[in-house]
């Protein structure tokens, strides 16, 4: 299992590369501009969901972006939750 942290907008190469390497059972943490990829019903969200990974979004970054009510089905985590995630999954990869 891999924890991918993704901090790049959905139109970036980092976002596309991450999507290609993510595997079912992995966890994907969306930070910064990557939170726009989780918008309910968007093609990017559909791509994220079909990866089979669990989709998590940093709550404060989603709030700043104005996406609080547009992330159905994604797991919203505060900073403590994010830290917990990094404690649970030792194999981690940062995409930026």
């Amino acid at each position: 299992m891999v924890l991918h942290t993704l901090n790049a907008s959905p139109s970036s190469a980092a976002f596309a590369d991450c999507l290609r390497l993510i595997a079912p059972g992995d966890t994907l943490m969306l930070l910064g501009d990557a939170v726009y990829g989780a918008v309910t019903g968007s093609p990017d969200r559909q791509a994220l969901d079909s990866s089979g990974a669990e989709i998590c979004v940093l709550r404060e970054d989603a709030a700043i972006a104005g996406l609080d009510n547009r992330l159905e089905g994604a797991t919203l985590l505060d900073m403590d939750g994010f830290v917990e995630l990094t404690e649970r999954i030792s194999r981690q990869l940062a995409w930026y």
């Binding site: 190469a13 290609r20 595997a23 194999r91």
Partner: protein
């Protein structure tokens, strides 16, 4: 330093050779890890495969030749080098002409590669 050598390191190289300093940084990390006898593998993903183009001409530009740097990696016992086959195809890269020996991987094989290494670093 016991206990430092049994963890494997995979460097994911995702950026083109001269668009940023990340390509150089990835080589620096690979060499540093190798100097401490760490097992290092490289995976060139997406635009990272552009570092493997032969005939990079840097003499006039005053920058280090990334292709030549990569060619030196086997001297430091860095020989596990993998390439995103889809990206190589996209850029019409013939891996037989790459500066070092590589192994082409499809998407699933790349995902599996992540699971066989203890530490993952992206550049």
């Amino acid at each position: 330093m016991s206990g430092t050598n049994d963890k494997s390191l995979l460097l994911l190289v995702r950026h083109s050779p001269y668009g940023s300093s990340l390509a150089r940084a990835s080589i620096d990390v690979a060499l540093a890890a190798a100097a401490f006898d760490q097992a290092v593998s490289l995976l060139f993903v997406g635009d990272g495969v552009l570092q493997l183009l032969p005939e990079q001409q840097t003499e006039q530009q005053g920058v280090r030749n990334q292709g030549k740097l990569l060619a030196s990696l086997p001297l430091y016992d860095i020989e596990q080098v993998y390439v995103d086959a889809e990206a190589a195809q996209r850029y019409q890269l013939d891996l037989n002409t790459a500066p070092l020996n590589t192994q082409a991987l499809d998407r699933e094989a790349m995902s599996r590669l992540l699971l066989t290494h203890d530490h993952l670093l992206g550049f």
